[in-house]
Subunit: 405 residues, 2 copies
């Protein structure tokens, strides 16, 4: 059994037009009008494929294809939200490959013992509402529904109000439930598969991730008549931390990454000494103890920077997930499927978080990676060749046939 | 002859309520609804004081009190726009002290040979539209009217469209014209007057100022799976420049100041390596040649930071004004007035730009400073004691009586 490459390619193109940027990327932040249109389009396709569609209280969308027995469903899915000026593969590719697998089952009039469910998770990226993967986090019981509802975007708009506004505040409880297995196909977002000429990554798990929020409060003042000797400049302290964060991985371990991705300056005008900076620090490593060491170094670095500039600070380590090993049964099934299809593959670890991370807490979980050209993602240049996508989607289909029986 | 302290205090309080922040500061950006209401209020007071009000093509407002002879007017003024979360003294104090001086002339039925004109200049701060002092710049013939009209705020809105929207796109040409002298009372925005216990600064001139805009373009990528070795992070390059700018004054001269006040990161989310940073650099020194040296150092610093991180850059030195010495006749008149009133004063140089800077190009110009508590301005804590304001306003009144005869 093989998926229909042309049909899949067509769906990727069509869904990619919703929120498309002038340079061929995608800006489709969670629960915006663009996200709503992408959801509507996907739901229409689900219904056309005969799926029974439901929406839960976090706006997660499920489309179920009945099995021959009353068993827990085999679930496949990903997300359709994007980062700002992101690409057309992160998230939506996993949704559309899963949809294509189901369409193929329909073509072949194949029956599975377990039902097969296509899932679209809300706000995976965390670009608009923090933390990321908030909706699978609620489903796994790791984030309280109320906290998720009260997450606010930069303009102070609440997640729950946006869910309601776009018509995706569903009535189904968002709680753990029996699931045969959860499978997510996703782009690698790193350079390894492409460097080695492989089409599929058999994902063994996800690295540990820690997010911190740092606020420096100095003294806002006029940039002209304020002598250098009396300044307490929040941006100068922030610059020290940016530099130090860049240097942390070399001090801790070769697989660690550390990033300042967000930095907001107040009042942010040319002729005022910045009184306040809010910035993010993202730390990842395969080993939990390395993340702990890095956060300890960060604490010291921030303290030193604040003391040196005479500013105050608040440092919150507000989100942290340990390494997530995937289920041996699912990892094994992915590897067997790739082998049986003759696809070039390797075992790999994910440096990025995915909804699969939370799903692993409630059911056997695994992921399939396909290559990212130049290792790039979260940008308009994000790209995966159609040959690799086809191999990935067929692998997904065959894992599904294996695990849903 | 003395001004009416109570009346002046009342006007300061009343105008300060338009755009007031919860902490008692002011957010009244140029040509916003708040600016319009502050203009409307001031125009109403001008008319109540019997002034003939006109508006020019840059939205500058003039209120004229007739003189006994057909001579060029003695002009006093300042601005009513503010920076974001700024204070209630920067700008509006100069306008209201000038208004109070005119009200006092009315009380005393005093006649002056020269007409006396109160001026309010558009967009002095440069917080919304760049460059700062754009409207006095047009009036002095230093900025083309068309360039000023096409200045855009962060949302891409043009200055001319906002002038029209708030009803202050006047018909009078905004060009140099005969003026007896221009006088501006303003807060010092530095610590010197307060440190020395003086109420009035006799301003001898304004330091040289240079504004630069710097853009780093790196490679936007996912913060997780992108190894440190391949990163080209725009924020890391920006941090190097922030640090280097802080160090430039110590290398050039004891009176130099250098500031990174604005820094915008793209895409500015926790889990993306920043692909782009746009930042400002503000350099000031009493000596022109020191500014030139500092910009040379900046060029080198930016080049090194870009090379070190493997990012590209664009550095524009887009605005520069030489030191502005004020007119000896006006400076002398300010000093005589302070002396004759028994006010404690000192001669002083302004580290901040003012509309007086451009006015000095078309007529004899001078300024009067009053103290800033803790030297602070462009912040909500901005404050000047009423005793000092009274001394400053009386000094202004007496300079006016001197020069308008």
């Amino acid at each position: 059994m093989r998926i229909d490459r042309k049909r899949l390619e067509h769906s990727i193109e069509e869904l990619g037009r919703i929120g498309e940027t002038p340079n061929g990327g995608l800006t489709r932040l969670a629960l915006t009008d663009g996200d709503k249109r992408a959801r509507d389009q996907t739901v229409a396709w689900m219904k056309a494929a005969g799926l029974r569609v439901s929406v839960d209280r976090m706006g997660n969308i499920f489309g179920e294809r009945a099995g021959s027995e009353p068993l827990p469903p085999l679930m496949m899915g990903s997300h359709v939200d994007s980062v700002p000026t992101g690409g057309k593969y992160d998230g939506q590719l996993g949704v559309l490959c899963a949809l294509e697998a189901i369409r193929t089952l329909n073509d072949e009039r194949a029956r599975t013992r377990h039902p097969v469910t296509l899932a679209i998770f809300t706000n995976e990226e965390g670009a608009r509402f923090q933390p990321a993967m908030i909706a699978s986090g609620v489903m796994a019981g790791k984030i309280a529904l109320e906290d998720a509802y009260n997450a606010r975007d930069r303009n102070g708009i609440r997640l729950v109000d946006e869910l309601e506004r776009i018509g995706y505040l569903g009535s189904e409880p968002c709680v753990p439930r029996p699931i045969r297995a959860y499978l997510e196909l996703h782009i690698e977002q790193g350079p390894l598969l492409e460097e080695e000429g492989r089409s599929v990554g058999v994902v063994e798990g996800i690295v540990a991730i820690a997010w911190s929020r740092l606020t420096f409060t100095g003294v806002q003042d006029h940039a002209g008549p304020t002598p250098m000797r009396v300044r307490r400049d929040a941006v100068v302290a922030a610059a020290d931390v940016v530099r130090a964060v860049r240097a942390i991985p070399a001090r801790v371990g070769p697989e660690m990454v550390a990033t300042v991705g967000r930095l907001d300056v107040s009042p942010n005008i040319t002729n005022a000494i910045p009184g306040r900076v809010v910035m993010s620090v993202d730390v990842r490593d395969p080993k939990e103890e390395n993340v702990t060491r890095a956060l300890g170094l960060l604490d010291q670095v921030v303290k030193d920077a604040a003391a040196s500039e005479g500013v105050s600070y608040e440092l919150e380590h507000y989100w942290r997930v340990p390494p997530t090993p995937f289920h041996p049964e699912v990892v094994g099934a992915v590897e067997r499927a790739a082998q049986s299809l003759g696809v070039r593959y390797r075992r790999i670890l994910s440096g990025a978080g995915h909804d699969a991370q939370y799903m692993a807490a409630i059911c056997p979980t695994g992921m399939i990676f396909v290559p990212s050209r130049n290792g790039r993602s979260h940008c308009e240049e994000e790209f995966t060749p159609m040959d690799d996508i086809e191999h990935g989607a067929n692998t997904l289909l065959h894992v599904l046939l294996d695990l849903a029986q």
